[in-house]
Symmetry: C2
């Protein structure tokens, strides 16, 4: 189980005919723990819990981060509005309706109206307000959603909501585009004697290099995270931003941030632990679990990158600051020449050094060095003389991930990124994606 493992969540998925392939393309995730809150009850797994008279509504919170692309889809615009309102005391999310096959981006005001029509339909079926529903879309850009077909499916989706492994798997599949495998993760941790759950599903394969606001991501990455921990809204927002910065923002498949990248977190508050706020010791434990969950998902996304056969990790050390180091690491993982060298298991390390040199950050090559899989190939600006066919170097290039550590000076700045190789399949997949 993943997204419905935490108490208070149900999910369902169906086929609304958005994808030409006829595969499932519409998922609904609902946060509406139907059980009454009982003060003092609680415990691991199945038990419902009470918050000392606090209503379940008051214990619910949500957070989201969205693409920084200047062009965004209608769902991202609506999501930003929702988030702004939520941070000013507006309602948390009751539901997220996610479709694949059409991103509802570059569709202008008509696209916004389409998204709102689907929100209304979900709100009517769940008997909640439309501003408690978030739409999320991924797929082809510049096409309208088939709203009528989607709306027609919503009563059935709501009727099918369930809290089990099948529901989670169906939702994870329905949000896929060029993904080859569904992606999910979960974490279980103990806080104040109670077991707290985190669950998540994600999709992403191409147009992946998330740069999220608040945080900073590239690609159509969609991530949906659920937890039964009760967390104050602003604290959840900050925790999500920080976690994304060190996970989804650290991966790139093709360096092309999408107009739809979104990561949404929903906390049901159904666990009986007391509400967590920033600075609480319990919250530090929760944040570590959230980060680890996001890193697992981010790695799964780049692992399933379009055409990817192997991963590589680039760490840059010794820069003046972390931002410079990360910018250099990003230039390396996004260089098509480096990606082809990784694909060909070719220790053409000059491409790595020069790719870092294109980040717009000055560094002195005389202070630079590079190791690949621990094999030092470049030191103080000079090749170490390791032979191209050195068995250790060849082994380092065959590894998965290939591990590159670039030193650019004596500063404290560090940064890292994970990328994937560039194969002919990437071209196959993308030369006729819409056709």
């Amino acid at each position: 189980m993943s997204i419905t493992r935490p108490l208070g969540f149900r999910a369902a998925a169906t086929t609304a005919g958005i994808k030409p392939s006829g595969k499932s393309d519409l998922a609904l995730i609902v946060c509406d723990d139907p059980r009454p809150l009982v003060a003092g009850a609680g415990g691991a797994g199945g038990g419902s819990g009470g918050g000392g008279g606090a209503s379940i509504q008051a214990r619910r919170s949500s957070a989201a981060v969205f693409t920084r692309n200047a062009v965004v889809g209608a769902p991202v615009e609506i999501g930003r509005e929702w988030r702004g309102a939520a941070l000013r005391g507006g309602p948390a999310l009751r539901a997220v309706l996610v479709n694949s096959g059409c991103s509802n981006a570059a569709t202008g005001e008509p696209g916004t109206q389409d998204a709102r029509a689907t929100m209304q339909a979900v709100a009517a079926a769940l008997r909640c307000s439309a501003d408690e529903v978030l739409p999320s879309s991924t797929g082809i850009i510049g096409h309208r959603l088939p709203v009528d077909r989607m709306v027609a499916k919503i009563p059935g989706l709501v009727a099918a909501l369930a809290r089990d492994k099948d529901a989670d798997e169906a939702a994870a599949r329905a949000i896929m585009t060029t993904d080859l495998v569904p992606k999910s993760a979960h974490r279980e941790l103990e806080i104040a004697g109670h077991v707290v759950h985190l669950g998540a599903i994600a999709k992403g394969s191409g147009m992946i290099a998330p740069r999220l606001d608040g945080a900073g991501t590239h690609a159509t990455l969609l991530g949906f995270i659920t937890t039964d921990a009760p967390i104050a809204g602003l604290a959840l927002q900050h925790a999500l931003e920080d976690a994304c910065r060190e996970s989804f923002e650290r991966v790139s498949v093709d360096g092309h941030p999408s107009c739809s990248d979104s990561v949404v977190a929903m906390a049901s508050g159904a666990s009986p632990v007391k509400m967590m706020h920033e600075g609480d010791p319990e919250f530090i434990v929760f944040r570590a679990a959230l980060l680890s969950l996001c890193q697992e998902l981010a790695t799964k996304v780049v692992r399933d990158g379009e055409g990817a056969t192997r991963l590589f990790r680039v760490e840059v050390k010794g820069a003046v600051d972390n931002a410079s180091a990360t910018a250099m690491a990003r230039c390396v993982v996004d260089s098509p020449l480096v990606k082809c060298a990784i694909h060909g298991k070719d220790p053409n390390w000059g491409r790595i050094v020069t790719a870092a040199g294109n980040a717009g950050v000055r560094f002195d090559p005389a202070e630079a060095g590079l190791t690949i899989g621990g094999v030092e190939v470049y030191r103080s600006g000079v090749p170490t003389g390791v032979a191209r066919n050195d068995p250790k170097l060849l082994a380092a290039m065959i590894a998965d991930p290939v591990d590159c550590v670039l030193t650019v000076g004596f500063g404290r700045g560090r940064g890292w990124m994970i990328g994937c190789d560039l194969s002919k399949d990437y071209v196959n997949i993308n030369a006729d994606y819409t056709t």
Copy 2:
């Protein structure tokens, strides 16, 4: 004829065993008009001319622009030193020694010594000073030059110097790396009753997205331009920077600026026209010819881009300034998703709009529009509804180059870039370049 078409230049090429393929890999271009200057003589084509007592040395000038990559090859370091000295009144170039097969980059101080040894050998053979010789290298990074083999070839190269079509063609071939075809261009223009010539050769196929200093370029682009016009040194430097900004800097094969990008211009002063300075009316005519020459070569470079089958041109209009517009156009031509769509003749125009959205420049999609080959697909932030299989749209996608015009607002900023498609051959070529 190309580089030796202008009076005062000779060229030769040979095989020094730098390329494992055994193809020619060493070229020498010399500016040393051996004929005496005769006052008052001149005219089209073959005539030598006089500068009213000015020595040929005083009429000679040179200029150069180099990569902005933080990591540069030894030849670029030496070239920057030469340029600094030249701009302070130091000597113009007598010769450029260009090798392919090894970039002599990421080789530290030993690489610099290697380059200087080749400069000394050329200077000895030409009886000039080593600081009048510029080395230029392209090829694998992080490997040492086979200096002894190169030096051994120099007397023969000097003996073979010639001013004819064969010499030009041989030089253009010797500087090739993954290029499929040699690239050259020439211009002839009349200034004050005299015919003035410009000639050029260039190489570049991968690691191409020149960002030149003074100007701004990515890739291993090497360009060598000759002219018999007499031009003041600083004026030639400025003219070269301006021409590169609107030519080589406007093309990208893979968005990876090389550590070796260099464009060098040498003016022999052998034409009898009077010395040209900035602001002279004749110089405006010369600059236009230089720009046109560079644009022809830049287009030839991207046309021969690794794996490229077709070109596309992206123009961005309506931005707040030209730099913003150019940054957006660059994001579009460098997006692997856009490049694959061009390859697949797939009108997946949302990728173009969102690629522009990743330039870090804010724009309002409601003011945005896109035409492909004159077919409007997106207007005021909304799809125009042109069918994907519309015959005009299909024709626009089959065109070469595919012509995309993106409007992002009502500002005066404009910019353009030319890119090429991404094919499986790019992966083939780059997955085992060194092997």
